[in-house]
Subunit: 512 residues, 2 copies
């Protein structure tokens, strides 16, 4: 590591303090979703606003810009772009420029608009009343265009969507997303169609069994610990929408949810959040509070959650290991079920209306619809008033289903009401990265049969070690695209995910 | 309310922001004791240090002094000392002067010393090794004397202890404490002696019954809700040392503890913390973040916890109401117990070694011993090296028991290792205030028979309403001593607590 000079040391100290303050806000956010009594809401919102203000003030402090300029001129410091100090300067520069590009009035107007829009969206969804939400979405799209204009995009090949998406995923552009999404969509639509017409349809019995919540909790805790989640440095609680809180690598908090008749959802949610949690716990503690010690971004984070949820948790070998535990935990309540039946039930594919309830295959079609629509809204190729019609057409076209109302249609997600345009594709990019990483890991660990045999024996440590070394430990040293090329030797492609789904699903459905 | 001018408005805004930040630290403290995984400790300590620094910086900001001076010169604002603005200015001045009186080096040295001393105390207690802790206590006493010299005390009648105690209880002096403690000690020693020799000794059977923790929790939750704790604005969790977190009146978090064979402790701890929680929930929300909306201090807080724990929760009428619930909850496990036996078991008096396990009567003798010893240490009338001998002599004299080792003797409490000299008496002052308030409330609500009949019917709202009006709603409008005189018409005295104990305990022991 090159010697660091005072400007870097000053910058480091300043940014670490800022990150420390942000980690406090993160804990308050976790508490709000899991522990806070209803009466605490107003005060909590004041606490979070105060911390956001303090963090923003520190992040946009003019001294940060000066320190960054001094560091960037230090050729020794910046010589090797993979060294921690160079990584930090690069990422801090990106954050600083982005944070200082918006005029304060636009930040305030955006925040006030989305704060009200969230409440309006909530009411509109409850009453299936799209016209109520439409003017708010219209305003959000307009303000988002203004934000995009401030951030800027590649004038040759870019578009407004790119400028917003950059905030969620460095280097993500609509053109690049389209390039992987198009073949994925075509082949997924075909696959889902074949499965729908297959002679053997998996039974849904397991997914609807009534199982005591206390026992469900016992089992999902045991499973998350068995795959490697460290409960000395984390915890698992319940919230209505499962999430993983990222305070720091020694205090990682997952949530899941339970329903008496949906253990599959509890297990899938827990495996998903455990995947996020394993990533957070694997970040290098010596770099806490700096980009070098943080996750790459949303897509890579999602790659880890989807990898553990789908590549591991919905594999045949996982169920060889887990099925006896199911019997031990639930006893008579699961008698009569076979291992094969449970495995098939967890891999049921069925076009449905709601994204968050979708299966591993159709989920990505839900994402593409949102991506195409938000892109069109930003480009002025679609009016907000026409959104429901466009939404419903695409559901018909990609998923083959009719949307009965907007509550279960274009009003179902909170994202746009929060102003998060450009966010959705990170979910599917996560699926793609996850599948591509898993293919490489499988090869590295001796091939498909070998890794499946490990899972069947409950050995998840070799996979976790591989992920630790190649993905977790480097923190934000590389961008998503660079990391993918370095690890897998290829740019991101739809092929690994399609290979995975094509090899797993048809046999379950009795197809060749 | 008088019109307020810009200096007051500026001060108010500044102080409210400071209080908001402090409430975030309070939540982090709660989380550390109840939720945080072990791995989170170091980072949490960094978060809390950061917040403490921010809060201290704001609290000692020179502008606060300037605003205060301007406000104090505003005769209209300060005309009626019971008006919110005047109360706030008075209390902020007290806080500001105290916060700015210590030189920064002393603050740092004290903080570093006590941080290490706490760890040394912990080890010394575990290994029953007083000599290990002695040099640290010596240093703490010396630094405390320096702090006292900075704060100052009444040169005519005061002493160093007063200057430290002022930080826990406005106006508390060693001389005033001695005046109420002396008769209390003499009569308590006599009472405890008579009970020890009484012909009838309450059975301990109830206190040692094995009862499922899940059922214990169900019952203590029901009881705390029944006496008035609002779970929409609070919660109850488990921690090794029960406490009540004071984030703000709409988010009040209690903790308790459970052992399979000590339901009495779980119930007593819950009632105690519920008393604290009812006070916090009763503070006026319109004054959140200002002294007018805060509790008076430690003694009055403790008066509320002790009132609900002892005056209510250990009364005969409480058990008339609660005993059927005990049977409903635990079923066969409590069969054969009588209401009378449970009531007597909860009121067992027995000299013991450990303060936190002591009963309602002997508890105060534990406190007096600590008060007398810390006072002597600060006055240089006792050397730290002689503390164990002096401690053991007093336990022999006041409680009639021999202390077998320092771990169960002068090393049992954490307080001195934290530098909290002058704190202990607030516990007994709380008992005294609680008894005196309860006597007045009893009269106001129709007398002893009437209030006991209410409790037996499970009606606790009239008592809570009385406390709300007279104690909770005024916030910090009055000092403890003033509040006591206003409400009860008399200065604090040992008589009400002694009357309460003399009327309750001897009959349980078969004495006239």
């Amino acid at each position: 590591m090159p010697a660091t000079a005072p400007p870097y040391e000053d910058l480091l100290a300043h940014q670490r303090e800022t990150a420390l303050l942000a980690s406090t806000a993160s804990l308050l956010g976790w508490d709000q979703e899991t522990m806070m009594p209803p009466g605490g809401l107003e005060h909590r919102s004041n606490q979070l606003s105060q911390l956001a203000g303090l963090v923003h003030g520190r992040a946009t402090d003019a001294r940060v810009g000066e320190w960054l300029t001094a560091c960037e001129a230090d050729t020794e410091l910046m010589h090797d772009p993979t060294q921690p100090a160079a990584v930090n300067v690069r990422e801090w520069r990106r954050d600083y420029d982005r944070a200082t590009k918006l005029p304060a009035e636009l930040v305030v107007e955006f925040s006030q608009t989305t704060s009200k829009a969230k409440a309006e969206w909530d009411t509109a969804k409850t009453h299936n009343d799209f016209p109520r939400f439409a003017p708010w979405l219209d305003k959000i799209v307009e303000l988002s265009r203004q934000k995009a204009a401030c951030y800027g995009w590649d004038p040759a090949s870019g578009e407004p969507w790119d400028a917003l998406a950059e905030g969620y995923e460095t280097g993500m552009t609509a053109a690049a997303v389209t390039e992987v999404f198009t073949p994925l969509r075509e082949r997924l639509v075909d696959l889902v169609g074949r499965l729908g017409e297959a002679p053997r349809q998996p039974s849904n019995r397991f997914n609807e069994l009534k199982l005591p919540v206390a026992d469900q909790e016992k089992l999902v805790r045991a499973v998350s610990a068995a795959v490697g989640f460290d409960y000395q440095r984390g915890r698992l609680d319940v919230s209505s929408h499962p999430f993983c809180s990222d305070t720091h690598c020694h205090d990682v908090r997952l949530t899941t949810r339970f329903a008496e008749d949906n253990f599959n959802d509890a297990l899938g949610s827990t495996m998903h959040e455990t995947g996020h949690g394993l990533y957070e716990q694997g970040l290098p503690p010596e770099f806490i509070g700096t980009p070098r010690g943080e996750s790459v971004g949303l897509s890579i984070h999602e790659s880890q959650s989807r990898l553990w949820e789908n590549q591991v948790g919905r594999s045949r070998a996982f169920w060889s290991w887990c099925f006896p535990k199911l019997n031990e935990t639930f006893g008579d309540a699961v008698s009569g079920l076979t291992e094969e039946e449970v495995y098939a039930a967890c891999n049921r594919v069925r076009p449905s209306l709601i994204r968050v309830e979708a299966d591993e295959a159709t989920y990505n079609l839900h994402i593409m619809i949102r991506f195409e629509l938000e892109r069109a809204l930003l480009k002025n190729e679609l009016d907000v008033g026409d959104l429901p019609t466009a939404w419903n057409q695409k559901y018909r076209e990609y998923l083959g289903i009719d949307v009965p109302d907007d509550a279960r249609g274009c009003l179902q997600d909170i994202h746009w009401s929060m102003g998060a345009l450009g966010y959705f594709p990170t979910y599917t990019l996560g699926n793609l990265y996850g599948a591509q990483f898993f293919e490489t890991a499988t090869e590295a660990l001796g091939g498909r049969e070998e890794i499946q045999a490990m899972f069947a024996r409950g050995e998840f440590a070799p996979l976790l070690d591989w992920l630790r070394t190649h993905i977790h430990e480097p923190g934000r040293t590389f961008t998503s695209a660079d990391l993918c090329e370095r690890i897998t030797g290829r740019p991101l492609s739809a092929d690994p995910l399609l290979r995975h789904l094509e090899s797993k699903l048809p046999p379950i459905y009795g197809l060749a």
